[in-house]
């Protein structure tokens, strides 16, 4: 496959996956029992007219899609209805215009809520992910080099333990210790009403708030990166060209740095991309524990309030980001290792 065709192929699959998510996102919220109409208007004090007005406001009085008046309870309807007037097409056209509807709780546009929190999540994930990758890969390389020594075994066991820790629990424990013993902030992004005299002070405050969440994130993901790096590295170090390098008289460190490391970095690109789903899961838990104002905390709040438009929008934006990140990793990999294009 030429580079151009490979690009188109990957791009096509990414678009198809996004379409699948869009359709799934629409029908899930209409097939499953907790449909938006009933959840958003649970208040028994509302009059019948008010309920109807809310249904009209959120477009829930329209047929779901041609031939179906509603999906739960299942009611068939007019197949000849103008498709552009159905909930499905209004949903699609709204999406195309970047409209995710309004929050049931705050009545603000969902897209505004998402945009103001996305940056915070990226900041948190970015810091934790970079640290986890750097530390995990370093320990992995050392463990592989010193294979079957106490260094290797202790790295292996502690990585397995780190992998088994529930992210939210580790966060709770670190928060408990950090806030009591080290006087670190108990949550949020910055001290409310901090009265900062300079932007430097403000950033320092954010930094202090980030210590514990970043530490949690790093510990949880270091284990996995270490395990994968270790096994990849052991395989590379068993190849014949390493023996050749050794025979040439290269020092172990030189062989490691110039020959083994480059070859074992490749699989990591894919692993890191595939890991994004877990990273998102980690972000939801960490933001909940540390009240970090990101997408994850938004999801937590939306679940508690049964705020479906927000939940729907957050799911959409997370899925699309993960899909694009995977696409980017695929393309990056094909640049680094042109062999994969000839699959």
């Amino acid at each position: 496959m030429s580079g151009y065709r490979y690009l188109l192929n990957r791009l096509g699959w990414a678009v198809l996956t996004i379409l699948f998510v869009i359709v799934l996102n629409f029908f899930l919220f209409r097939i499953l029992p907790g449909d938006p109409a009933r959840a958003g208007i649970r208040d028994p004090r509302l009059t019948r007219e008010a309920v109807e007005a809310i249904r009209v406001r959120f477009g829930l009085d329209r047929p779901v899609i041609n031939c179906f008046e509603s999906l739960n309870p299942l009611r068939f309807g007019d197949c000849a209805v103008n498709p552009l007037q159905t909930q499905f097409f209004i949903y699609i056209s709204n999406l195309l215009r970047g409209e995710f509807g309004f929050s049931y709780h705050s009545n603000r546009p969902v897209i505004d809520l998402l945009v103001e929190r996305l940056g915070n999540t990226v900041l948190l994930i970015g810091a934790g992910e970079i640290l986890a990758i750097l530390i995990g890969l370093t320990i992995g390389v050392i463990a592989a080099w010193k294979v079957r020594t106490p260094v290797d075994y202790s790295a292996l066991v502690s990585s397995l333990v780190a992998w088994s820790l529930p992210t939210f629990w580790l966060g709770i424990i670190l928060l408990f210790i950090g806030s009591r013993e080290f006087n670190l902030p108990i949550g949020g992004k910055a001290t409310p009403g901090g009265g900062f005299t300079s932007s430097w002070e403000y950033y320092r405050d954010i930094g202090r708030h980030m210590i514990l969440p970043t530490l949690t994130f790093t510990i949880v993901f270091v284990g996995e990166y270490m395990l994968i790096m270790r096994s990849t590295m052991i395989e590379v170090l068993s190849e014949d060209f390493i023996l050749t390098a050794k025979a040439k008289g290269l020092r172990a460190f030189q062989t490691l740095k110039n020959h083994a490391l480059r070859n074992s970095m490749l699989p990591m690109v894919t692993i890191i991309a595939l890991n994004l789903g877990f990273i998102v899961a980690g972000a939801i838990q960490i933001e909940t524990v540390f009240s970090w104002p990101g997408i994850g905390q938004l999801i937590y709040e939306a679940v508690g309030r049964r705020d479906y438009p927000v939940l729907q929008g957050a799911f959409m934006i997370i899925a699309v980001s993960v899909i694009f990140a995977n696409l980017a990793a695929d393309l990056l990999y094909s640049v680094l290792d042109p062999r994969v294009r000839a699959e």
């Binding site: 699959w13 629990w169 928060l175 052991i234 170090l237 999801i299």
Partner: protein, 309 residues
Amino acid sequence: MQGSPEFTTLRGLWRHMARNKLGLVGLGMLVLAVLTAVFAPAIAPYDPYAPVKITIDDIYAAPSQTHLLGTDDAGKDVLSNFVYGSRVSLIVGFFASFISIFIGGLIGIVAGFYGGWTETILMRFTDIMLVIPDLPLAVVLVALTKPSLLNIIFVIGIIGWTGTARLVRSQTLSVKERKFVLRARAIGAGRPYIVRRHILPMVLPLMVANTVLVISLAILEESTLSFLGLSDPTVVSWGQMLNYAFTRGAMSAGAWWALVPPGFGIVWVVLGCTLLGHGMEQVLNPRLETHHLAVGKGMVARRKETAAQ
């Protein structure tokens, strides 16, 4: 991916497992957890479902003679909740992973064995599902349905099959080309027969090793959902205990006894699965044990003596 033939029976898997220390430790941890869950009523000092009369002093009471691990936000005994909580984790872990393994195994074997368009469609669908992040999808599904134990099991089960499907497919592909399968086809064995008698027994040990890891993921996912407030309110679970403790002031009360034990339980079970799974993986997929730069004995890489028995 292929070990020597003896790994391909469950008994062969066990024989080799018995020599893997970390794997055995994991197995022991799991056995202990299962025993705790089964004999919970005999072990727990109190019944977590019995109503109790409490005073203000019983809320987050520190560990004492009457309550070895103190009490929680509702004045209930933490140790009893902890013991009973093991049941939910293990039940969800077991049944959810059973669903995942069944779906993943079916898709993997059908895709690997039949090939062609069937394979393309099934594996493309798997790829799509693989990319969609699990936890947000599970949160949405459980929030929309009612968070009952059954729903949670079902949601975790139908989300977590993608890894298994890919693994089983690749194993099926390699078994399909083995000589004895080709011979069976040559003498006219039907496809269902080949799948039942040749493919399945050789894919099974790999699926067992995979099951253990799927169980650990399911348990982590269940506890996370519970922590986020999506737990069955009628049964005590570790994630739910942590949710109540965290949202109802255990942090400010300094009640570490309400926060540490449930998490410890989750780590115990998940680590047990991880160690066991890691051990089985080493047996089924003997990686190199050493390499050219290793120091000490066996300085030049040599494959682990897999045939030695």
